[in-house]
Symmetry: C2
DNA sequence: ATGAAAGCGCTAACAT
DNA sequence: ATGTTAGCGCTTTCAT
């Protein structure tokens, strides 16, 4: 099926392709009469200009790419949704690049990131947003970092909630330390002193930052932090139940648990229920992220909201500015918010 | 920043662009010596062929589009994830087109669908997958349907879990009637006779089909269906709690509730808890979709699995076949599965 | 095995 | 206000 081109339209309208292009893009005045004639033909043939050809000459595609770890993790659809809103508003259409690897191997994930980075630049996207993966590493390998930085030099590249040490890449992020501080202080103010912190990965900078802020906040209140109540290595529901089971088997049990994401908190909720513990009466649980389900669990989860939607929206906004060469701050820091719901309360001993 | 092209490579290698193209695409034998020389240059300059230019001549882009209603609804990320897996395997990169409208107005959604349909064809995608929106309508308007059908004539277009009456469009779907039958029979076999069915929208074909299958199954077992226990108009958590509250205020209460999606079921779970009812002891609840959270609620939700991941994967497979002009069945029907967890049990009266 | 040149469909000077 | 033409960067006959 041969598709119709500007030439076909031009010929039938007895004008040159330039004129057709002019009415298409409204880029120069065209006599109403001929414009009408052309528009009629466009309608008649349902003519759609070939965006590839257009982009080839204009050197802009209106396409952007977003690389993220796993759309199946409920945090990301929220971010993506905000991103989508704003990107759409600016007229972009975007490639979704999910880097999840079937076997959970993170080396695979980084390879995938590289592949997508490549595919996206070949496709001449106007900009790229990255989220998770290597940019969340506490110390990413030199090559891993360099590759991204290199691409960041050739086109607008924005990191969400991550960084590449020493690089000049733009980023937008939610203040990790503040988030952890909010959660910790909430627990302390409720009267807790025996607080565990679980979830995350020791090799990820977010985990490190949050844990460090947690420790600092505890110390500021003169509360000791127990090593055996710090359990990392996991961001899943399953690891959440595992963490709590380990905690419960300890001679000394905490009265509150700060989970480094909501998935872990949900796992904790489940495990607590199975163990016959009531939340928050017997134990308080606070999550992190405020995924949609956090407000639908029983009890509803007290958590730290990363305002994911806004984060995504902001990212798209900034990327757009970068593309249009507007000035943007190198780092945009969003403030997280504590959302107090039902899973936290004053510890039993203090009521 | 001027980017390097085949010409630059060709010149420096003392060959013609044709030769460079040959080694790039491995499309004709090239003397090892010159091939090496070219590859070296490619490496040296980190040369990346411009995919736009390539696509312009090859008339294939390796890009596809997926149009869906709302990535924030946890069912869709599951589908998308399966789709992603397979699409990636086939070397496609895809545009995500989310048609959610801020104000929840479905007219807006259809407009958005049209816009994306247009944008995607202009961008010369190799194929399109549609999900939700107008294709879920029991009777879509003529224009709405025609537009899609028209596009389906020009390029591979596949519908997931939907249809356009009388059209010749390919589709892959999960058997709606079977799903509803599975859920209903499960409840009946448990001993329930007082069963309500809630959720969905009367103008959507899935709601109609499921409700009809529910009714039929009930009748086959000689169980009357009560009109006041059929509550449509909502797929959200909030509508779920609303449905159940209405049900509980009735003089006659059902002993089991079949919710047309998991979100509604979760709302029902919440409302039941607030009303002091124990699930499943006091009332049984079954959902539909098997979203990830269904296995994380307390109690865990008995539900009908649409095998979303597989659905997405299958869609990508079929679309690929359509693109490569392989033969494909017009309709591919997947079988849903009942997943029995904790939210259903024998009714109190029969224990 | 390699080169020359046409063409993919459009936009953007530059003319008129 | 409109036409001519030269690209954009690549692939692909057709020659050699």
């Amino acid at each position: 099926m041969k598709s119709v081109t500007v030439y076909d339209i031009a010929k039938e309208a007895n004008v040159s392709v330039a004129t057709v292009s002019r009415v298409l893009n409204n880029t120069a005045p065209v006599k109403k009469e001929t414009r009408d004639r052309i528009n009629e033909l466009i309608n008649k043939y349902q003519f759609q200009p070939n965006a590839l050809a257009r982009s080839l000459t204009k050197k802009e595609t209106g396409m952007i790419g977003i690389i993220l770890p796993d759309i199946t993790n409920p945090f990301f659809p929220e971010v993506l949704s905000g991103f989508d809103q704003e990107a759409r508003k600016q007229g972009y259409t975007y490639f979704l690049c999910d880097t999840v690897s079937a076997n959970g191997d993170s080396a695979d994930q980084y390879i995938r990131e590289s592949q997508y980075l490549n595919a996206l630049t070949e496709k001449q996207v106007d900009g790229i947003v990255m989220l998770g993966g290597r940019i969340d590493l506490a110390k990413p390998g030199r090559e891993l970092a360099e590759e991204v930085v290199e691409i960041g030099k050739r086109l607008p590249l924005l990191l969400i909630n991550g960084r590449l040490p020493g690089s000049i890449l733009n980023r937008v992020a939610v203040d990790e330390r503040l988030g952890a501080e909010l959660a910790t202080r909430h627990l302390i103010e409720l009267g807790h002193r025996d607080i565990a912190i679980v979830g995350g990965y020791r090799h990820m900078s977010n985990t490190l930052q949050r844990t460090s802020a947690f420790t600092k906040t505890m110390e500021q209140h003169g509360i000791p932090v127990r090593k055996e109540w710090i359990l990392h290595e996991g961001f899943s529901v399953a690891s959440g139940t595992d963490f709590i089971n380990r905690l419960l088997s300890l001679p000394q049990r905490p009265t509150a648990i700060f989970c480094l994401n909501d998935l872990v908190a949900i796992g904790a909720l489940k495990a607590a229920a199975k163990a016959g513990l009531k939340v928050p009466e017997d134990i308080s649980i606070v999550g992190y992220d405020d995924i949609p389900f956090a407000s639908n669990s029983i009890p509803e989860l007290t958590t730290v909201s990363l305002r994911a939607n806004e984060l995504g929206r902001t990212a798209a906004e900034i990327l757009h500015k970068m593309i249009t060469k507007d000035k943007v701050a190198k780092t945009t820091l969003l403030k997280p918010e504590l959302v107090v719901r039902e899973s936290t309360a004053t510890p039993a001993g203090k009521r």
